[in-house]
C-alpha cells in the first residue's frame, strides 16, 4: 500500500496551490522568524531578513499570478480571488513597512527580536481573514491577528503606558471577538450554515430577504466585532488610548495593516452577503447611517482639541473610518453604484495605508527615547531644523486632509461620488462638513512645524534610521504619484 493511498493529500491540488501561495509563504516566514529570532547574536537582523524575504515572496506570488476567477478550497474555508489578492498584498506590504521602520527604534527601546515574528503572525491572520467565507475560520484568523497585536502593543515593556494600552486592548478586543463569535453561532443556528454563501441562500430562500429577529440579532452581534476592529463610533473608545500607549511603529502597523485587513474582510462579507438580489433591510441602512454620522462628527470635533500627536492621528483614523463606512453604505444600496463603491473602498484603503505609514515613519524618527508620546510643542521649529522631514510630514498631513494634488483627495472623491450616485446626498454633505472640520486637525501640526518659534527645552533630535527614511521616501513618492495618476489604483478589483 503506497503512502499516498494511506494519507490522501489531494484536498489541495493544481491551481489551488497558486491561490494559497501568499498564505503559505507568510506562514513559513512566521515559523522561520520565530526560530531564527532565538539566535544569540544577530537574532534581530536575521529575523528581519527572513521577514523581508518571505513578504517579498508573498507579494510577488500575488503579482505574478493575478487571477480573475475564484479559487475555492475546502468549500469556502479559503477563497482566493482578486479581492483577497489585493488586500493580502496591502497587508503584507504594510507589515513589511512597519518592520522596516522599526529598525533602529527596536534597539534603542530594547524591543525583543520576536517583534518581527509577531508581525509575521499578525500578517498571516490578516491574509487568512480577507480570504475566507467561513464564519468560524474568520474568527480564528481574526484572533490570530489580534493575539499577535495585543502582544505587540505591550511589547514596550519598560513603559507603563504600553502595559496599560495592552491591557485595555486585550480586554475590549477579547470581549468584541466573543460577541462576534456569538453572532456567528446565532447565524449558524438560524440558517444551518457557517458559510457566507449558504447563509445568503438561506436568507433568500427562507425569508425572501426580509429577515426575522433571530438572524438579525446574529448579524448585529457579528457586526459589533467588525465595528470594533475598524473603530466606528460606539466601539471606538479603545482607539485613542491604545494608539497613544503603543510604541510608535506598532501604532503605525495597527493604523495601517489592521485597519486595512478589517476593511477588506468587511468588504468581502458585505459583497457575499448583501449585494445583488437580496434587498438590504431599511432598518439596517438607518442604523449604519447613524453610526457613520456619529463616527464622522465625533472624530472630527473631538480630534480638533487634542494636543498629543498620536491622539491626533487616532481621532483622524476615526474620521477616516467614517468615510469608509459611507462607501459601505453606497455598497449596500446595491444597483449600479455597488461596483464603483467596492473599488472606491479598495483605492481609499490603499491611499490611507500609504499616507499613514509615511506619517508614522516620520513620527518614529522624531520620537524621544523612552517616552514616545509626542506633543505638538515638540514639533516646533522642525521645519527649520529638518526641512526635508517636515516637508514629507506636511505632504502626508495635506493628503489626509484631502488637498487636491495628493492621494487623499482622490480617495475621498471616489468615496463621495459613489455615495452620491447611490443617493446618500445628506450623508455626503455631513462627510464634507466633517472633512472641513478635520482639516483643522491636520493643519495644526503644520502651524507648529513652520510658524512657531522653537524653544530649546522642547526640541527633539530626530534619529537617522535607514529603514524609516526608506519608508518616508517611498510613501512620499507614492502619495504624490497616486495623486497624479489615481486611475492606476482605482480599478484594481
Amino acid at each position: 500500500m503506497s503512502f499516498s493511498s494511506m494519507f490522501p493529500m489531494n484536498f489541495i491540488e493544481g491551481q489551488q496551490w497558486l491561490g494559497i501561495l501568499p498564505l503559505f509563504c507568510m506562514t513559513l516566514t512566521a515559523i522561520a522568524t520565530l526560530l531564527l529570532s532565538a539566535l544569540r547574536h544577530q537574532g534581530r537582523a536575521v529575523a528581519f531578513a527572513m521577514l523581508l524575504i518571505g513578504s517579498i515572496a508573498a507579494v510577488a506570488s500575488t503579482v505574478v499570478f493575478p487571477f480573475q476567477d475564484t479559487i475555492v478550497i475546502l468549500d469556502g474555508v479559503l477563497v482566493f480571488d482578486r479581492l483577497s489578492q489585493v488586500f493580502s498584498a496591502i497587508c503584507v506590504l504594510a507589515g513589511l513597512a512597519a518592520a522596516l521602520m522599526t529598525l533602529g527604534f527596536d534597539e534603542r527601546e530594547e524591543l525583543q527580536p520576536e517583534y518581527f515574528t509577531l508581525i509575521a503572525f499578525a500578517v498571516v491572520g490578516m491574509v487568512a481573514m480577507v480570504s475566507t467565507r467561513n464564519l468560524v475560520f474568520f474568527f480564528i484568523s481574526l484572533e490570530l491577528m489580534s493575539l499577535a497585536v495585543y502582544v505587540l502593543v505591550s511589547m514596550h515593556r519598560q513603559s507603563p503606558m504600553a502595559a496599560e494600552a495592552g491591557l485595555k486592548y486585550f480586554l475590549l478586543g477579547g470581549a468584541a471577538s466573543a460577541v462576534l463569535l456569538y453572532g456567528a453561532s446565532i447565524l449558524y443556528g438560524a440558517t444551518g450554515s457557517l458559510d457566507v454563501t449558504g447563509i445568503r441562500e438561506a436568507f433568500q430562500s427562507q425569508w425572501n430577504g426580509h429577515l426575522p429577529l433571530l438572524p438579525l440579532v446574529g448579524l448585529g452581534l457579528f457586526s459589533v466585532g467588525f465595528l470594533f476592529k475598524i473603530g466606528a463610533f460606539p466601539f471606538h473608545v479603545w482607539i485613542p488610548d491604545v494608539y497613544t500607549g503603543a510604541a510608535t511603529p506598532v501604532t503605525g502597523f495597527m493604523i495601517s495593516a489592521v485597519k486595512a485587513a478589517a476593511t477588506g474582510a468587511l468588504l468581502r462579507m458585505c459583497l457575499e452577503l448583501f449585494v445583488g438580489p437580496v434587498s438590504t433591510e431599511p432598518t439596517l441602512v438607518v442604523i449604519i447611517s447613524a453610526i457613520t454620522v456619529a463616527t464622522l462628527l465625533f472624530g472630527s470635533f473631538v480630534g480638533v482639541r487634542q494636543t498629543r500627536l498620536k491622539r491626533i492621528f487616532a481621532y483622524s483614523t476615526i474620521v477616516h473610518t467614517g468615510y469608509v463606512l459611507l462607501g459601505f453604505l453606497a455598497l449596500l444600496g446595491g444597483g449600479e453604484g455597488a461596483k464603483d463603491a467596492a473599488s472606491s473602498i479598495v483605492s481609499y484603503t490603499i491611499f490611507y495605508v500609504v499616507m499613514n505609514l509615511g506619517a508614522f515613519a516620520v513620527l518614529t524618527m522624531i520620537s524621544p527615547k523612552d517616552n514616545d508620546d509626542l506633543t505638538l510643542d515638540q514639533l516646533t521649529g522642525l521645519g527649520r531644523r529638518r526641512p526635508m522631514l517636515a516637508f514629507a510630514m506636511s505632504v502626508f498631513l495635506l493628503s489626509m486632509a484631502g488637498i487636491p494634488p495628493t492621494a487623499g483627495f482622490f480617495g475621498k472623491y471616489y468615496l463621495f461620488s459613489a455615495a452620491l450616485s447611490s443617493g446618500y446626498v445628506w450623508l455626503t454633505i455631513v462627510a464634507a462638513l466633517a472633512s472641513v472640520v478635520s482639516a483643522v486637525i491636520y493643519l495644526r501640526p503644520m502651524v507648529y512645524m513652520y510658524m512657531k518659534e522653537s524653544e530649546e527645552s522642547f526640541q527633539v533630535v530626530p534619529a537617522i534610521w535607514l529603514g524609516s527614511n526608506i519608508i518616508v521616501v517611498l510613501s512620499l513618492f507614492l502619495t504624490v504619484m497616486m495623486g497624479l495618476l489615481p486611475a492606476w489604483f482605482s480599478n484594481l478589483l
Binding site: V136, I140, E143, P160, A163, E164, Y182, I186
Partner: protein
C-alpha cells in the same frame, strides 16, 4: 420547555454573566475569566444549535474555539504580568496613566 430551549437560555445567561463580569469588576483576573465564560457560552450555543439541526459541522467548531480560548488566556495572563510589573497591581482603577 424542551431541553434545546433550556440550553439556549443557559448559554445566553452565561454569555451575559461573562459580559457583566467584564463590565462591572475591577479585578483583571475576573475580567479574563469573564472573557473565557463568554467563549464557553458560545461553545454551548454551537453544540445546541448543531444538535437541533442534526449536523456535525457545528459541534466540530467547538474544538477550534477551545484552542483559541486557551491561547487567549495565555496571552492575557502574560499581559497581566506585564501590567503587575509596571503598576504593582492588577486592578483596573490603578492603571490610569493614559487618561491624564
Amino acid at each position: 420547555m424542551n431541553s434545546g430551549t433550556i440550553l439556549h437560555i443557559l448559554s445566553a445567561y452565561l454569555f451575559s454573566m461573562g459580559l457583566l463580569a467584564l463590565i462591572l469588576r475591577r479585578n483583571t483576573i475576573v475580567m479574563l475569566m469573564g472573557i473565557e465564560l463568554m467563549l464557553n457560552a458560545v461553545n454551548l450555543s454551537f453544540v445546541t444549535f448543531a444538535r437541533e439541526l442534526s449536523q456535525l459541522n457545528g459541534q466540530v467548531q467547538v474544538f477550534f474555539i477551545i484552542t483559541i480560548a486557551a491561547a487567549e488566556s495565555a496571552v492575557g495572563l502574560s499581559i497581566l504580568i506585564n501590567v503587575y510589573r509596571n503598576f504593582g497591581s492588577i486592578k483596573t482603577d490603578r492603571t490610569t496613566v493614559l487618561r491624564s
